[in-house]
Amino acid sequence: MRCQDFQHRLERRWDDYQMRAHADQCRDCQERLTLVHWTRQVMLAAQTDVPAPTMAAVWAAVRRAGSASWESSVMRSFHRLAPYLIAVSVLFAMVAAFQPGGGKPQPSRYANALAAGSDTQVATVLDPDLAPQQPGDVLGIAGR
């Protein structure tokens, strides 16, 4: 028997006379056999068994994990989309800023009307209808 075959059988928990005969002749394989048996004993001595949870507990965990995974997928989507949202917002802001007349103070309706030179009627504070209120005239109807 070759050492490789011995090791192959050893890992598969075989135990036969051929293996024992080989281990008697080969020091390396003998050491390996001792090591495997020793580890097995340690592992069996260290073994702990904890009872499994009930099925109801597992279903409760499924519900919890389901909602958690939904929340995390929403967060993941948000995190994935966030750079694009920021980029789009910045783009909109830049387009608004570079529009003709953008950023400059806009003319008032009155100035517009004057510039147009039309007969557009623009209400001013000089209009008799919009005369300043007199003191004590809370409703602005004293002069009418």
């Binding site: 097995r40 340690v42 919890r64």
Partner: protein
């Protein structure tokens, strides 16, 4: 990665009919799968993690994860290695997270004066030696890294084949053999170190 197990094995997987039913939304089939594998997964988790108080929670989370991932499961790999792979990764994640927190694990007999072996019992001596051995074995296992521990637990406690361990860990067959051998060697080295320490601590 999972090429260690031939696809033929997946077709002969005894869990396959149940898995297909679960994929069609059959909750009863999932419960059957749970009862079939709960003991093995609990044994694996409790021996890798070594904190009995968290084991039921971890097992619940593992099965919940598996249930929610059934849609993505492809029967190319048999169900058990797939389940154990999810369980193994969950244990490693837990240990990684736990490592950042301070541990409070009793590993010496002196820590707990009310232990069973201290009771007046005719078999006390035998029980004591058994408990000392168990304690020492537990300590040796804890001293190993999580990956070494996982390999040894899967091989010696869950009694899985090398091929299955390969499918679970994503290692080739030769890497599984080498990994097991090194894990055993490291365990022996830890034992020898502990033994030297106790020799030095003995009164002259």
């Amino acid at each position: 990665m999972s090429g260690v197990l031939p696809e033929m094995a997946a077709a002969e997987d005894p869990d396959l009919p149940l898995v297909l039913r679960v994929q069609q939304g059959d909750a009863v089939a999932f419960e059957e799968l749970y009862y079939r594998h709960q003991a093995g997964v609990s044994r694996m988790v409790s021996n890798i993690v070594r904190y009995p108080e968290v084991v039921p929670d971890l097992v619940q989370e593992i099965f919940a994860k598996v249930y929610l991932r059934f849609e993505s499961y492809s029967p190319r790999l048999p169900f058990r290695p797939w389940l154990y792979r999810v369980a193994g990764n969950h244990c490693l994640d837990f240990l990684r997270h736990r490592r950042r927190q301070p541990l409070q694990v009793s590993t010496t007999l002196e820590d707990d004066p009310g232990r069973e072996w201290a009771l007046p019992d005719p078999n006390a001596e035998r029980m004591q030696s058994r408990l000392v051995a168990r304690d020492l074995a537990g300590k040796l296992l804890l001293e190993l890294g999580p990956r070494d521990r996982m390999l040894l637990v899967l091989k010696e406690i869950n009694e899985l084949s090398l091929e299955e361990i390969g499918a679970i860990t994503g290692l080739r067959l030769s890497a599984v053999k080498v990994g097991l051998f090194r894990a055993r060697k490291r365990m022996l080295a830890k034992y020898q170190k502990l033994e030297r320490q106790s020799e030095r601590g003995k009164p002259q």
